[in-house]
């Protein structure tokens, strides 16, 4: 690893995230501390989410989202790993309705479940959900047991199969641990939109606070018909789709 980010660096480079990460590590609830530490407090009064309109999203848009995510976090260019071994935080999926024959393309990433099976099964609390609904892996606590990957219904998680070089500053990753979409928490905490959302730059993908009645995502969700993937599992995902 050319750039090893230790715990302190990790704390330096992120803000409110770290507070809750450190929280879990020490076993003390420091959510209020997290709230004070930043002007964008991590509270359970917010719930970050995303609404993806597959009717308006072109395949090129989706490819662009994947590229933007790779660029932001640096996954996918692992030198030795084979196709299924390479990290994959967001992918393009094409599905065909068996009844109507309609083909839909959509981006699939961690759905930031409200009841995340990955968090439930993780033995060490490395998989955790922030107060604002973002599901993360604390890579300092992850022992690489991969139980969370078994449990995730969306195949959204990746195991780092090799040593990494050229890591991105905002996203420490590590061989032998599990990772997945962070909803670009480092950007969200600064008030910015996730990289994939920014790359589309249209209302085809809306990011925002699901709870905030004035947010665009909340208002749109009230108007349009939307769905959760595998809604039958009752995970109440933060990522929603319309047009599927």
């Amino acid at each position: 690893m050319s750039k090893t980010l230790n715990r302190r660096d990790f704390i330096k480079t992120t803000t409110a995230t770290t507070a809750s990460v450190a929280t879990i590590a020490s076993g003390i609830t420091l959510t209020t501390f997290a709230a004070n530490a930043n002007e964008n407090p991590v509270t359970n009064e917010k719930r970050w989410g995303m609404l993806i309109d597959t009717n308006r999203l072109t395949e090129a848009n989706i490819d662009g989202m994947v590229t933007a995510c790779k660029k932001e976090h640096g996954w996918g260019s692992e030198a030795h790993s084979t196709g299924d071994q390479k990290s994959n935080w967001i992918r393009k999926l094409k599905v065909k309705d068996k009844a109507t024959g309609k083909v839909t393309s959509l981006p699939l990433m961690c759905q930031h479940c409200e009841e995340p099976p990955c968090v439930d099964v993780c033995p060490t609390n490395a998989s955790m959900k922030r107060e604002d609904g973002i599901v993360l892996v604390d890579r300092h606590l992850c022992i690489g047991c991969r139980y969370c990957m078994m449990a995730c219904p969306y195949d959204a998680r990746s195991f780092v199969h090799e040593d990494l070089t050229d890591q991105k500053e905002d996203m420490p990753r590590g061989k032998g641990t599990v990772e997945s979409c962070t909803l670009c928490v480092h950007k969200v905490d600064k008030g910015e939109a996730p990289a994939c959302v920014a790359s589309v730059n249209s209302d085809a993908v809306i990011f925002g606070d699901l709870y905030d009645a004035n947010s665009k995502i909340n208002q749109t969700l009230k108007k349009v018909q939307s769905a959760q993937i595998r809604a039958d599992l009752n995970l109440n995902t933060g990522v929603r789709y319309s047009g599927i």
Binding site: D84, Q85, R91, P123, T124, M150, D155, F159
Partner: protein, 399 residues
């Protein structure tokens, strides 16, 4: 009649050859671990689709077998069957040794085995995995106490109480192991309530098979008498357990075939064109079930130790295959992410997996660790009765 226990001498050429052979396997396993951990898991056959591979197959196999190996002791202490009593110590020992071997594999296959301490200090009490860690540690303690009570004459009177706790604990432990799969809601292969009881029955069969092999080998190699009464009783018991496993397997698969939503994965395992179907019918059912039962129950082979030994080996091989089908086959079949829709691109298909040599070496190394532990401990502590001849184990036996 009082049972006399005695260490084995452990000075013969055979003893050293056995230890050396097992030592080589353990060294090979450690080399394999170094290779996998140094490079990362890309050198294995595992991937983001098959996240648990060969090491988990062997690890869960041994862990399941471990709790079953305690059966002989449980039958004696809980159900008060005299015949099994002299073998209780060995039963406890085999049980602990198998568990140690299985846990070693599990830990060494972690992405970060160096963080074992995290696993021991950070508990998510919602996680069945964390509960399993507690159950495994507790099992060590309880069985160790149980053994001590059997060894220590003053404590003998408590040993049946300790045996009862160990028995209860092991049932919970195997249920816990089986439940690891129960929590994977989105994986259809594991969507069966019957998984937990099936794991318990599997543990009975695999654990007893290990026990029979170790018992017969140690008595043969140390020239101690081992009578037909014991051998036949254990053989019959193994036959019953194997039949019970087959029954549970049948119920599980038939049940799933009828459930429309699980018919896909069932057809894939039972009648698909992938390796798992051959493994199921030829490996698990015929090799690991029907042939052992024939070897055990055929009248001409009664009291034949070679065929009982062979049957036990086949039960174990069938057991590894069964866990391979459950663990790897269950992951290979894609999750139903979009019910009613077909995924054209981006996910799906049967995931490929070819175990690497290193993974297999790690698995075999776990078995070697278990066996070497038994080998040394019977040398240093009096685990084995001097004699298990018919008149010792069953004074009323008339030959």
């Amino acid at each position: 009649m009082n049972i006399r226990y005695e260490q084995i001498q452990g000075r013969s050429l055979g003893f050293y050859a056995l230890v050396a052979g097992l030592g080589v396997l353990i060294l090979a396993a450690l080399g394999a671990v170094w290779h996998m951990e140094h490079n990362g898991h890309w050198v294995t056959g595992m991937s983001n689709r098959i996240v648990w591979g060969m090491p988990h197959v062997f690890a869960l196999f041994l862990i399941v077998a471990a709790s079953g190996a305690l059966n002989v002791a449980s039958i004696s202490s809980v159900f008060n069957k005299k015949l099994y009593k002299p073998m209780s110590r060995l039963s406890g020992l085999v049980s602990l040794a198998l568990l140690a071997g299985g846990l070693m594999i599990l830990v060494l296959d972690l992405g970060r085995p160096d963080r074992l301490i995290v696993a021991m200090t950070e508990y998510n009490f919602k996680s069945i995995f964390a509960w399993n860690i507690i159950l495994y540690n507790g099992f060590f303690v309880i069985v160790a106490i149980y053994l001590w009570m059997m060894f220590e004459r003053r404590m003998n009177k408590f040993s049946s109480k300790a045996g009862l706790s160990a028995f209860t604990w092991r049932l919970i432990l195997t249920t816990g192991t089986g439940s690891i799969f129960g929590f994977l809601v989105a994986r259809q292969a594991y969507d069966a309530v019957i998984m937990a009881p099936m794991f318990i029955i599997m543990s009975f069969a695999f654990g007893l098979a290990f026990f029979i092999l170790i018992l017969m080998a140690s008595y043969k190699w140390t020239d101690r008498p081992l009578g037909d009464v014991v051998v036949n009783r254990l053989g019959n018991l193994l036959g019953v357990f194997v039949a019970a496993v087959m029954y549970f397997v049948a119920v599980k698969h038939l049940g799933n075939l009828y459930l429309a939503e699980n018919a896909g994965v069932e057809n894939f395992i039972l009648f698909g064109e992938y390796v798992y179907s051959d493994l199921f019918w030829y490996g698990q059912i015929i090799l690991g079930g029907l042939i052992p039962m024939a070897l055990i129950y055929h009248p001409a082979l009664r009291s034949n130790r070679s065929t009982l030994g062979l049957a036990s080996v086949l039960v174990l091989i069938g057991g590894v295959i069964q866990l391979y089908i459950i663990i790897v086959g269950g992951q290979a079949y894609p999750m139903e992410m979009f019910p009613g829709k077909e995924i054209l691109e981006g996910y799906g298909g049967i995931a490929a997996y070819t175990p690497s040599l290193a993974e297999i070496m790690l698995g075999v190394g776990g078995i070697a660790v278990a066996l070497i532990a038994v080998t040394f401990l019977v040398k240093f502590l009096p685990f084995l009765p001097e004699s298990l001849a018919d008149e010792v184990s069953d004074p009323h036996h008339k030959s």
